[in-house]
C-alpha cells in the first residue's frame, strides 16, 4: 500500500528555543534524504519549518526549486516535490513543527489543504493554501468555495474544535464537495484544527484516494469525560485491520506510552522505525506519528498516523 505521505519529520526547538533541530523522522527507504536532514537546523523564519514557526500557521510549499526550502537537491534526488509544515503551538509558544513531504507522481490522488477564516466573510472558511497534485479541477473548485462553520469537513472540525474523519466521502452528506471529490478519486478525508489564535482559525484537511491513502491507518484519540484517560474515538484504514482495532480498545493514561507522552508534553512523537526493511506494499504497521490538537493550552485530541 503506497501512502500519499513519503516523509514525516518532527522539528523541535533546541535548548535555547531559538532554532529548530531535528527531533525524529520517518523516511521509508529515503536514506540519503534522511542523512541530509538529520544535521539541519532552522532558525526562526528559515526554511520550511522556520517559516511555519514564524507564520504561526500551517504552510504548504508546492515547489522547492527557487524557494526558501533548504534541502532542494536532496529532495529532488528522493523524488519529493511538495512540503507541508504544521506548527504546534501551546498559546504563543511553539512545541514543535511537523513536516510532511510528498512525491508528485501521476499515481497520486489526494490533496492537502489549509483552510482559514475569512476576515471579510464572518463564519466562513476558505482555502488559504493547498497541494492538489494532478487534481487541477478539484483545486479550482476548492479554491473558489467558502465553507460555513459546522458544514463540510473543515467546517465541522472548526465547529467542534476536534479532528473529524470522514471514511467514505462519496456517501457523506456533510462533505460539501462530494461529487467533485468522487470525480477526482478522493475517498476519505480528515480535518484537523491546528491553531486557534483569537480571531483566526486554521484547519488542515487531508484528502486521499484508496490507492494512495494518507497513511496506512489514522486514529483519533480524545480524553474521556473525566479527562483521566485517552480513548480511541475512531480508527480508519483502507483495509480492515483487526490487530489495530484491538489496540484501539485500550485506554491511555497521561504520561504512559507514546500517546500518553504526547498528552503530557504537548509535543508530537514518532515511534517505530521501519527504515531497514520498510515495505510500503504491506499492510503491517511499523511506525506512528502522533500529533496533539491543543486549544487554549489544553489537549483536545491526538491524531495518530500509522505507516
Amino acid at each position: 500500500m503506497k501512502t500519499f505521505i513519503k516523509v514525516t519529520e518532527i522539528w523541535i526547538p533546541d535548548k535555547d528555543r531559538t532554532q529548530l533541530e531535528f527531533g525524529s523522522g520517518l523516511y521509508g527507504g529515503l536514506i540519503d534524504f534522511k542523512e541530509a536532514s538529520e544535521q539541519q537546523l532552522f532558525a526562526y523564519n528559515e526554511g520550511l519549518p522556520g517559516k511555519a514557526w514564524a507564520a504561526g500557521h500551517p504552510i504548504v510549499l508546492t515547489k522547492f526549486e527557487h524557494s526558501y526550502f533548504k534541502r532542494t537537491a536532496a529532495a529532488k534526488k528522493a523524488g519529493l516535490t511538495c512540503g507541508i509544515a504544521i506548527p504546534i503551538f501551546s498559546g504563543d509558544f511553539l512545541m514543535a513543527v511537523v513536516v510532511f513531504l510528498c512525491g508528485d507522481d501521476e499515481h497520486h490522488a489526494g490533496a492537502i489543504e489549509v483552510w482559514r477564516t475569512n476576515p471579510a466573510l464572518e463564519n466562513q472558511l476558505h482555502v488559504m493554501d493547498g497541494y492538489y497534485g494532478t487534481l487541477h479541477r478539484f483545486e479550482a473548485i476548492s479554491r473558489n468555495i467558502s465553507v460555513p462553520k459546522g458544514q463540510g469537513l473543515p467546517g465541522l472540525a472548526w465547529q467542534t474544535g476536534l479532528p473529524v474523519l470522514i471514511d467514505d466521502i462519496s456517501k457523506a452528506e456533510t462533505f460539501i464537495r462530494t461529487s467533485d471529490a468522487k470525480q477526482a478519486g478522493i475517498s476519505m478525508g480528515i480535518g484537523i484544527p491546528v491553531s486557534d489564535n483569537p480571531g483566526q482559525t486554521y484547519i488542515m484537511t487531508f484528502l486521499s484516494a484508496k490507492a494512495t491513502p494518507i497513511a496506512k491507518r489514522i486514529q483519533i484519540w480524545i480524553p474521556d469525560a473525566q479527562g483521566k484517560q485517552l480513548i480511541c474515538q475512531q480508527g480508519y484504514s483502507k483495509n480492515s485491520n483487526d490487530l489495530a482495532k484491538m489496540f484501539e480498545t485500550i485506554t491511555v493514561n497521561k504520561g504512559e506510552g507514546a500517546l500518553g507522552r504526547v498528552w503530557l508534553t504537548g509535543v508530537p512523537v514518532i515511534t517505530g522505525d521501519h527504515e531497514p526493511d520498510y515495505n510500503p506494499e504491506l499492510d503491517s504497521l511499523s511506525s506512528m506519528l502522533a500529533i496533539p490538537v491543543i486549544e487554549q493550552g489544553r489537549l483536545k485530541a491526538i491524531v495518530s498516523f500509522l505507516f
Binding site: 483487526d242 484491538m246 500517546l259 517505530g272 499492510d283
Partner: protein, 191 residues
Amino acid sequence: MNRINVLLIEHDISKTLLENSLQASGFELLKTQYSPTFLSLIKEISPDIIIFNLDTPSKKLLADLQTLNIQSPLPVVMFATDGNVDTINQAIKAEVSAFIVDGLEHNRIKSIINVAIARFKHQQCLNNALEEARAKLEGRKQIDRAKAILIKTQNFTEDEAYHTLRKLAMNRNISLGEMAKNVIVMSELFK
C-alpha cells in the same frame, strides 16, 4: 564428475610441490598470492575450495576468512609451518576446515582435500541445524511475548491470547511467528 576448482594461495610464485601435486591429482587450479583484494577475487571466481600454503596466517588474512565464512562459506585448507597453538586456535576460529603443520606430502594431498570438503559439508549441516533451532526458539519466544502483550492489553487468558493470535495469522495468511512480530511491533508503537 566435474573437476574441483581450487584457488591456491601461496607466498612463492614459482612452481611449487603443492601446485604440481594438485595439477597431477586432476584439480582445476588457479594460483595467486594473498592480497587485499582476496574477498573480491573469491566472489569473482567462485572456487570450490581455497588452499593456502604459507608460513603463518596474518591477522588480516584470518579476518578475511571470518568475513568469507559469514558471506559465502567455503572449505579452506591451510598448510603452514607455524605450529603455535595460538595460531592453530585462531585458524580454527576463522573456520579453517583443515590446518596442516609441516605436512605437505604429495601422496596425502588429495585425501586431505577430500576430508576437508567432507568436514566442511558436515559443519555446514550442523550450522544450518543450529540456525534452524535458533530461529524456532526465537519464533517461540516471540509468540510467547505476543501472547503476553495480548493478555496484558486485552485481559485475555493464555488460551484466548493464543487463539486470537492464530485467528489473526489465519486472516492475514501469515505464520504464527510473523503475526507475533506484528503484535510486538504494534505494541512498541504505543510504548
